[in-house]
Symmetry: D2
C-alpha cells in the first residue's frame, strides 16, 4: 500500500511495481484542448487496499500549460473542472453547498484552500436576507478552519461543528496536495468523491473529512503545490539505480539512512516547490474558484459569473 | 440610548447629555505607570437601557503612549490587561479556553481578531497528544470565524458549532472596535464580561456572542482601530455649534442631511483611521495576545511565556 | 491658492469661491459608456498660481461604477485611460518607459503605486537579453522607491539615481491621491503631464518628480484612495453653515480649533477610507496597470496583452 | 571550482574532494553560548579560484537553535552578528550606511532582504531635518531594489544609481542564500567583506554588488533560506553511492540525467524549504535587523535600540 495524495500517482506506483493492470480499478481517459482528464475508479475493497485510497471516483485534470498563467488555459481548465465537478455533485437546484478551504494561510505553500475561500462567491447570507437578489444562484457558503498547529483544534472537528449549524447538501473541500512528480506542481487538479482521508493532504489531520465524519457527501478538490523532499530524493536514488544496474534493487535500509541524514533536522516538513510559490498558489486558487463557481451556479449565465469572479 | 462600542464612551455621552451621574452605574478608577484603568459596572436594567450595554463589568485601559510602540509600554499594558482579565475569568486550573478572533483578515482595519489568533499560543492539541509537554499550561485553542460577507455564515453560528465540539470553560472574543474619539485609536483596550452584543462591533452581526448564545461565559476584548466617519463629522458639527452659540442646539435634521450628502455613496462603511493602519493592527494585536497569554498560563514563569510570544 | 491633489477639485474650489470661470484655464468634457472625461488645461502662470497646479494638462476620468469591480467597467476605464495616456505620451516606438510606483506597500491605503509595479509587464531585461521574444513590445521597466519614513531617502532622489542608469524616454509615476469628495474613492483616475509637485500626493515629499528634477517628461497617474480626515470635517462644517445661515461664513478660527481638538493627536495622518481598503487598492491597481499596458504596447494585439495581465 | 553561496560549504566541498587543507585559506573557530563562529579568510588568488569566492573574510555564525525562535537565542546571535559586523565595518562615527535588501518581497523564500529593510531603523532623513533627535545615531538608510523579473532592471544598476545620490560610507547588502545542507536553513548567518559576486545569491544577477561596482566597501549578510532541489538530489546520490560502494564514484553523466528528468520542467527554480517558510523569513529577518542595528549605533544604549526594534 502506498500513501500519496493523487490517486493517479498511487495507481501508477502500484502498476509500476507489479508490472500489470490492477483488478478492481477502471480507467478512462479524455482529451481536451489544453490537456488530459483521467477518471480512475476504485471499485472494490481489494483495490482500495492495494491503491491506498477509498473506493470511489478520482478525476485528474492534467494541463501542463496551466503553469504559464495564460487566461485561455485557466479558463479551459476551469470549464473542464466545472463539468466534472457537476457530474460528481449531481445536485438538485435547492441543495446548498459548503466550501471548506483546508490549510494554513500563514504558510504560503499550504494556502490554497484559504485562497479559494477568499475568492469564492458566497450567497447563503443573501438567500437569507435578500433572496430576490440571488434567485438563480445556489446557496453557497465557504469557510477556512485553519490548521491544528495554529488553532489547537482538528480541522475536521471545526468542520463538523459548522456542518451541524449550516446543514449543507454537500461539502466541497479544497486542499493543497503533495505530488511525487515535479511536473504536476500547479498543473494538475484532482477531484474525488470520497472526501479527505485521515492523515492525508499537506496537513496530516487525524480525522478525515468525508461522508462518514460529516454525514453529507464530501467532494475533495486538490492541486499539488509541493513535492515532499524525501520523495524526490527517493525517486532520484531509484532512477539512478535503474540507469546503472537494471534489475538490481535499491537497498531500502541504505536509502532510508541517506534520507534521514540529508533531511535532518526538518524531516517531514521539508518540501520541494518553485521559488515563485506565492504566484503558483494565487493562480491555482483562482482557477479552482472559477471551476467551482461555474459548476455550482448552472442557471446563471457564464458571463455574469465571470464578471463576479475577477 | 446610544450605540457605541466602548462602555466608557457610552457612559460619557449619556452623562454629557443629562449633566449628571447615572443611577445604577458604578465607576472605579485606578492609575498605573503608563495610564489609567476605569471599571464601569452596569448594575440594573434601567442603567442597561440608558447606556445601551448589557449589565456587567467593563474595564477600560487607557494608555496614550501605547501608540508609540515602546516595548516598555506594551509590556506594562499587557500586564494590566492580564491582571484584570484574570480577575474576570476566575478560572480553575483545569478549565479550557477558546479564543475567538472576530473580523476580517482581508480588510486591514478589521484584522485585529485574526491577528491575535495568529500569535496566540495554542496548547489544546498538545494536551491531547503530548500532555507531558504542557503540564503547567492551560488548554487553549483559538479560531477566526471570518465575516459574513466572506463566508456567508454568521460568525456566531460558526462559533456555536465549534463550541459544541470543543466545550471550552470560557470564551475570549477579540474584536476591532469603533471609538468616537480619535485619541483612542490603538491606545485603549476594553475588557467586558458580557460578550459581544448583536449588531455591535465593527462587523454588525445579527447574533450576539455571549453566554445566552454560547452557553458559556464570554469575555470580550476590544481595541478601537477606527472611528466611524459619520461620527467624527457629527462631533465636529456639535463642537463648532458649542463654540459659536452656546445654549443653542444643532439641528438634527440638517446635520443628518450634511452627513448623508458628504458620506454618500459609501455611508456606513467609511472609517477614519491612521494611514499606518497596518502597523496599528500589528501592535495592538501583539499587546492583546501578550495580555491574554499571561492571564491564562498563571503557573508558567513569565519569562518562559515571553520567550514563546515573540 | 488651494492645495489638493486633483486639478478638477482645485478648479472647482476656486470657481466655487469666486463664482465665475477662471481665465487661463480651458476645459473640455467627453462622455464614455461608463463615465466622463474632463480635460483641464492650465494655460498661463496666473492660472497656475490661482489653481495651485503647474501649467499643463490634467485629464480626469470619473467612473462611479468602477467601485463595483465589474470587469466590463474596469475594462472600459482601462481603454479610456490607455487612449488619453497615449495622447499625452506621444512616444516613438523606440522610446523606453520607466514606471515609478510611489507610496508604501506596508501601509495599505498608500500601496497603489507598489501594486501597479507588482502587476506591470516589464520587458526591458528581455530587450537586453532575448530581444526576439519582445519584438513588438516597448521597453518597459518599473520600480517602487518606497517612502521616506521607511528608507530614509527622498523618493525623488532614488528615482533620479535610477533614471541616470536606465535613461528612459519618459517616466510614468503612479501614486495614491487624497480627494476632498468621498465619492471619488476608487472611482476617479487623474492623468497629468506635469509630474508630481513637491509636497503633493499622499506622501509629502520635498522634491518633485517632474521634468525639472528628472530631465525627462513625467506623466503622473493617480487614483484617490483616501480623504483627509480634516477636510471631510471642514466640508461638513461648511455645508451645515450653508444650510442654516446662507450668506454668513464659517469662522476660520473656530473651525480650525474644532479640527485640531478632534483630530489630535494624529493630525495630518488621519484619513477617511472604506473599511475594504485592501480591495479598493487591488482593483484600482489592476485597472491602472491595464490602462498603462494597453497604452505602451500599441503594436501588440489587445488580446495578447490581456492574456499577460491576469 | 564550486559555486555555492556559503564560503564555509565551498571550503568543505573542496577539502572533501581533495582530502587535505587548502593553501591560501586560513580558518579560525570561536564558540559562543548558542553556537559557533568560523572565520575563513581567502588569502590569495589561487585559493580564490579553488574556492570560487573572492579574496576576503567570511564569517559564519552557526546556531542550530535559532530555528526554535527563542528570544534568548535570537538575541545571542544578534549580539555575535553585531560584534563581527562592527569589526568588519571599522567605521568612523560620521560614516553613513546604506542597507540594501536584495530579493523579491513577492516570493516568500526570497523575501529576506526586503524584510530587513522593512524592520530597519532609518535615520538619514532625521539627520537632515531633525538632527537633534538623532545625535547619537549613525546616519542609516535602507532600500529594496526588487528583482530583475519584476523591475526589468538589474538590482546592481538600481543600487549604483542610489549610491551616487546617497554617497554612503559603506553598503550592507542582505540576501537570502542557498545552502547545500538542510540543517543550515534559518540557522546560519554569513557575513562577508567582499560584497555579492555576479551570478550568486538566490537571484542570479549579472552584475555584482561590491567595491568594484559601487565604489564603496560592501559587506554582505546572508541567511540560507533554501537548498537547491538539484543539489539535495545530488547529495542523496553521492551519499548512497558512498554507502554501497566505497571507492567507486558516481557517474556524472547518469546523475545529470537523473536530475534533469526529475526536476523538469522547473529546473533551477525548484527549491527545498520548510513548509513554514513565512515564519523562517520573518525570524531570520528580525535577527539580522537586530544585529545590524546594534552594530551601527554603538553610541546608543542597547536597551534604547531594543525598544526601537520591536
Amino acid at each position: 500500500m502506498v500513501n500519496v495524495d493523487l490517486a493517479l500517482e498511487a495507481r501508477d506506483l502500484v502498476r509500476g511495481a507489479t508490472g500489470q493492470e490492477i483488478t478492481g480499478v477502471s480507467e478512462e481517459k479524455q482529451e481536451f484542448p489544453h490537456g488530459t482528464v483521467t477518471i480512475i475508479k476504485i471499485l472494490d475493497e481489494r483495490a482500495e487496499s492495494v491503491i491506498g485510497k477509498p473506493k470511489g471516483a478520482y478525476i485528474t485534470i492534467e494541463a501542463p500549460n496551466l503553469r504559464l498563467k495564460l487566461p485561455e488555459v485557466q479558463s479551459s481548465v476551469a470549464d473542464i473542472l466545472a463539468q466534472h465537478l457537476r457530474s460528481l455533485l449531481n445536485l438538485s437546484d435547492a441543495a446548498s453547498v459548503l466550501i471548506i478551504g483546508l490549510g494554513n494561510w500563514q504558510a504560503t505553500p499550504d494556502a490554497l484552500g484559504p485562497t479559494v475561500v477568499k475568492y469564492t462567491l458566497v450567497t447563503r447570507h443573501l438567500h437569507q436576507h435578500m433572496p430576490h437578489m440571488v434567485e438563480n444562484y445556489r446557496s453557497v457558503c465557504a469557510f477556512a478552519p485553519g490548521v491544528l498547529g495554529v488553532t489547537g483544534i482538528e480541522s475536521a472537528e471545526i468542520i463538523q461543528g459548522v456542518v451541524e449549524k449550516v446543514n449543507p447538501g454537500v461539502i466541497i473541500a479544497v486542499d493543497a496536495l503533495a505530488a511525487t512528480n515535479i511536473s504536476r506542481l500547479g498543473t494538475t487538479v484532482q477531484i474525488g468523491d470520497t472526501g479527505i482521508a485521515p492523515g492525508s493532504g499537506v496537513n496530516n489531520n487525524r480525522i478525515g473529512v468525508n461522508i462518514q465524519t460529516m454525514g453529507v457527501p464530501v467532494i475533495a478538490i486538490g492541486v499539488p503545490t509541493v513535492v515532499n523532499a524525501g520523495i524526490i530524493m527517493q525517486i532520484a536514488l531509484e532512477s539512478y539505480q535503474n540507469k546503472t544496474a537494471r534489475g538490481s534493487r535499491l537497498s531500502p535500509v541504505l536509502s532510508k539512512e541517506v534520507l534521514e541524514e540529508t533531511l535532518k533536522p526538518f524531516e517531514g516538513s521539508l518540501i520541494v516547490t518553485p521559488r515563485e510559490i506565492d504566484d503558483l498558489i494565487l493562480n491555482a486558487g483562482r482557477t479552482v474558484t472559477r471551476g467551482i463557481t461555474l459548476a455550482l451556479h448552472a442557471r446563471v449565465p457564464k458571463e455574469d459569473l465571470e464578471a463576479l469572479l475577477c
